[in-house]
Symmetry: C2
Subunit: 311 residues, 2 copies
Amino acid sequence: MKASDLEKVYNRVAPYIHKTPVLSSSLINEIADCEIYLKCENFQKGGSYKIRGATNAILQLSEEQRSRGVVTHSSGNFAQAVSLSAKNLAVSAHIVMPTNAPKAKKAGTIAYEGIITECEPTIEARERESKKIQDRIGAAFLHPSNQLEVIHGQGTASYELMHQESDFDYIVTPVGGGGLIAGTCLFVKELSPKTKVIGAEPMEADDAYRSLISGKIETNETANTIADGLRTNLGHHNFPIIQKHVDQIIRVTEEEIIDAMKLVWERMKIIIEPSSAVSVAAVLKSPSIFKGKKVGVIISGGNVDIMDLPF
Amino acid sequence: MKASDLEKVYNRVAPYIHKTPVLSSSLINEIADCEIYLKCENFQKGGSYKIRGATNAILQLSEEQRSRGVVTHSSGNFAQAVSLSAKNLAVSAHIVMPTNAPKAKKAGTIAYEGIITECEPTIEARERESKKIQDRIGAAFLHPSNQLEVIHGQGTASYELMHQESDFDYIVTPVGGGGLIAGTCLFVKELSPKTKVIGAEPMEADDAYRSLISGKIETNETANTIADGLRTNLGHHNFPIIQKHVDQIIRVTEEEIIDAMKLVWERMKIIIEPSSAVSVAAVLKSPSIFKGKKVGVIISGGNVDIMDLPF
């Protein structure tokens, strides 16, 4: 994408989102031995960056398409994002959600007037239920991560970050379905070619790490990670972008995720979800890469069930 | 105090503190039916507003006094604040701390190199131990709430708030030892005479509420409140200021405190401690006062033991 196209995407979604703050902590910088800037999408509307992609996609539907509503499947954050952005744009939103989605994310979806259909927690079941709703009412399908309009929208978090702070050596994002990191690459590589984009992934769902090695989309047989937003696989739209632009994927253990989450909660007094802590953990565990560098970290969201914490 | 004196206090402490952000939430405003602006001292150095008062007091000691160190007693936030501001100014800090102080606050005090002496959780024991240290090494005593230099320093949170947003109908602060609300009054009444200052207090430690009625300093026989920062009594320096300027004290139940804390965590993704939730709870429960008004709320701190949450 050209810089003028990126700006067009940003200007399209900007009226519907928060420009989230960038925070840092001298204590965490001391521990990590580098300069970390957290782009706080946990403060975003709907509690995660995902409203950016949802809004960009819905705004590109025709009037007629909008009148029939939209449908998506999501373990949580995209569900809330689609519900909220659809509500903002007076479109009805159908959400297929696995039965094991966190309570807070279900409650958020309902609060934003999303119409929930529950399904088994497998990719196949999610896709099957979504297809049924598309066929029945003609709703436009929005993919949480493997659709270009969505990918472009997610990249606007980095667009803002690079205007709030400059000269990053690295930008780190978590990798789940691949939408955030693919969108991030497109914006970063155009606006700051010297900045490297690094992905962070749980060991327990390291499909992207393996995909970059094998050169084809690998899947997770199990995904027993607390980072509930990162259990999904890459898609054919985002994988080529990731292959081309992502410099490295760092994997972290469940213990490292929980420790990083606790550190940010205790020291920065902000609530980040496990999927976001994955990126912080990746930076903390890799001084050989990040020492002395300027590092932007996309804090993807803050939707945690505070009645069910891992510490 | 005159406006020029207030500015002098602010300029004295400003180089040593964070200018904390002011946050609001459309969802919480909807629930409360008023416009709430949270002054986020949970993001302050040391995790609470108390570094403001500690810094102002230490900066007014002579070189010779500073060389002998400072001593204070505190259940937690002032302990961290004195330790940190003393460390910043190369002064040694002795901290008398009750045995039941939250672990996170003890750990913070140690991290900032405060030298802890433990004592029984009574005001008498705290004062006795502090006196011993003064006598033994000649350390200057800093009172957490009943000392004019400390009171003036605490007021600088409102000074900032009133420069970040204007035209408040109300400013609400929690009331513990009385230092924050007294300092707040001095600044608010000079800078914005139309703005009313309201205190918020747990039912379980409502000494300030009763003191304003009786006209003399009342004490708490018990203080079984989760708001660990608000268990202390008013002092003879701050009580006359509170009597003169505070318009009302609103009392809240333990359940209201926990609900308000949970609401702010879940909806705003920021970590506030129970003592801060007391003010939010007071606004939420009093639509007859706050409906349609512009309300500043001093979020006093974010030092919570996240391993031991009330929900």
